[in-house]
């Protein structure tokens, strides 16, 4: 069965410091991987995705993520955090060979960036 784990419920970072939000996944085949961000009282916004090709994927708002097949990870990173990055971040996966169209989401990681 497909699954996604976000091991940290919350990540605290000082503004200007690099940030990492961790994600590991489990699928039977090759994965499609996604990161979404949710601001308070808002829907989810797409940040970036890994489909194939370069393991380092760049997305919106200066975020990037690195696909590591051997570690089955897709950690979200940003070189310099902003207070406005404070939000709830979700990692999601879909099995490339699977018949289901839906995404499997992690439970989310709350990112708090302090000035």
């Amino acid at each position: 069965a497909q699954s996604v784990a976000q091991p940290e419920d919350q990540v605290n970072v000082a503004e200007g410091n690099p940030l990492t939000v961790k994600c590991t996944y489990s699928v039977s085949g090759n994965p499609y991987l996604f990161w979404y961000v949710q601001y308070p009282n808002r829907g989810l916004q797409f940040l970036l995705k890994y489909i194939t090709g370069d393991n380092l994927v760049k997305g919106s708002y200066g975020f990037e993520a690195e696909f590591n097949k051997s570690q089955t990870s897709f950690h979200l990173k940003k070189p310099s955090a902003l207070v406005s990055d404070s939000a709830l971040y979700f990692c999601a996966v879909r099995d490339v060979g699977g018949s289901q169209g839906n995404l499997i989401f992690g439970k989310g990681t709350k990112l708090s960036v302090k000035p």
């Binding site: 996604v4 499609y32 996604f34 979404y36 009282n41 808002r42 829907g43 989810l44 916004q45 797409f46 995705k49 489909i51 979700f90 999601a92 879909r94 490339v96 060979g97 289901q100 169209g101 839906n102 995404l103 499997i104 989401f105 992690g106 439970k107 989310g108």
Partner: protein, 118 residues
């Protein structure tokens, strides 16, 4: 362009009543999804529509939940005889996944309907 819209934004209902939640997907998107987000939980998949194919209902938690999609566009999620455990934010998403592909298109989410069952 216009994104995914959902209505109502908030719904308070009494236990035992039926509710209908509406989703207008992005024009031209063939795939439509319903998810449920409960406090402290991730997103729980409910149902998936792809074009004119039969929907994937594997995520519906009970037979009190149903959904339809009319004309390949607007979708309505119906919850009958609501229970307090149904209280959650119900999110709709759409994507441009053409039929027959393996679906690497990202999903675009609406703002959600916050349902409170009292």
């Amino acid at each position: 362009g216009a994104g995914v819209s959902q209505s109502p934004s908030n719904k308070v209902t009494e236990k035992g009543k039926d509710v209908e939640l509406r989703c207008d997907p992005i024009s031209g998107h063939t795939a439509l999804y319903w998810y449920r987000q409960s406090l402290g939980q991730g997103l729980e998949f409910l149902i998936y529509f792809q074009g004119n194919s039969a929907p994937d209902k594997s995520g519906l938690p009970s037979d009190r939940f149903s959904a339809e999609r009319t004309g390949g566009s607007v979708s309505t999620l119906t919850i009958q005889r609501t229970q307090q455990e149904d209280s959650a934010v119900y999110l709709c998403a759409s994507s441009g996944t053409p039929r027959g592909t393996s679906g690497n298109y990202e999903q675009y989410f609406g703002p959600g309907t916050r349902l409170t069952v009292t």
